[in-house]
Amino acid sequence: MPALSSYYNTIREAAVLLLVSILAAGLANTFGPSRIPWASHIQAEKGRELAATGMGDVPPQEAMRIWRDKAALFVDAREAEFYRQGHIPGAVNVSIDPLGEDIMDQAKKLPKDRLLVVYCSDIACPKSKELADSLKQLGFGQLRVMVEGLEGWVKAGGPVEGRP
């Protein structure tokens, strides 16, 4: 059993290392080549990126109307396990899993003459936008992204199927 002073020294060492790290990080992000703003900028950037792709955002309320009218096929971009746990009824799973099935193969089950609404877990997940980008490159023309994802869908009162 180490002596109590050993723990005290450990904390002192950790404090020194933490201070050095804070100093290095501060200097790097002030003078270094790849700086980022100290305040978060990601939310705003995500909005700009989506606007730049030309693929419109579908708010959950509108998505529910589209779903009721069967005017689109919903595409779940999350990993298969999450899809199995719960997804929009009728949605197909096309997951961007590097070790899973290739997107090109998975995309064969999607119709090109129908509107596709892509979603992932919530507003912060990148997969829906990434998948929509990939599908666009594969020649799918009618694409929209439900940016608020399954979380927004559930909040808006949308149904979910799958095992909980």
């Binding site: 060492e13 404090a15 290392l17 790290s21 305040a39 978060s40 990434e130």
Partner: protein, 140 residues
């Protein structure tokens, strides 16, 4: 003697792992900030400061451990970080959030399945705790 050698090897290996893990994140703070953001655990105002600090903390502590400088503090911090990563990952798994771990690289294409992350993180934590224990025993 061989026990000492083993302890040194473990310490150097554990330190080097973190040095390696930090480099890509230091080079691409923007990409790493997105990964931290996607974990959705921190309030937005803390995302960027932490995304800048964490990789440097890994580098400084990893280098310190590799070189045997302030090894107890470095091992304690790195074990703490691993425990926090593991906790954050499990927390998101539990609430059904599909996040990319961003452990060694900021490129999602190089990720692996969830189970693998967990097993790797847990294995690293076990190694880290062994290193911490041996550093404490040797404490001068």
């Amino acid at each position: 003697m061989s026990r000492n050698l083993l302890a040194t090897l473990a310490r150097v290996a554990f330190g080097l792992l973190f040095v390696l893990a930090s480099l890509d994140k230091i080079a691409h703070p923007d990409a790493f900030a997105r990964i931290v953001y996607n974990y959705q655990i921190l309030p937005e105002v803390l995302v960027n400061p932490l995304a800048v600090l964490l990789p440097w903390l890994e580098l400084v502590c990893g280098a310190a451990l590799t070189l045997g400088v302030l090894p107890r503090g470095a091992a304690a911090i790195l074990c703490g970080l691993l425990a926090v990563f593991l906790g954050a990952f499990l927390f998101n798994l539990h609430r059904g959030l599909d996040v990319y771990c961003g452990c060694f690289s900021t490129t999602p294409a190089r990720g692996g399945p969830t189970g693998l992350y967990l097993a790797r993180d847990a294995a690293m934590l076990v190694l880290g705790l062994a290193v911490l224990r041996s550093s404490l025993r040797r404490g001068r």
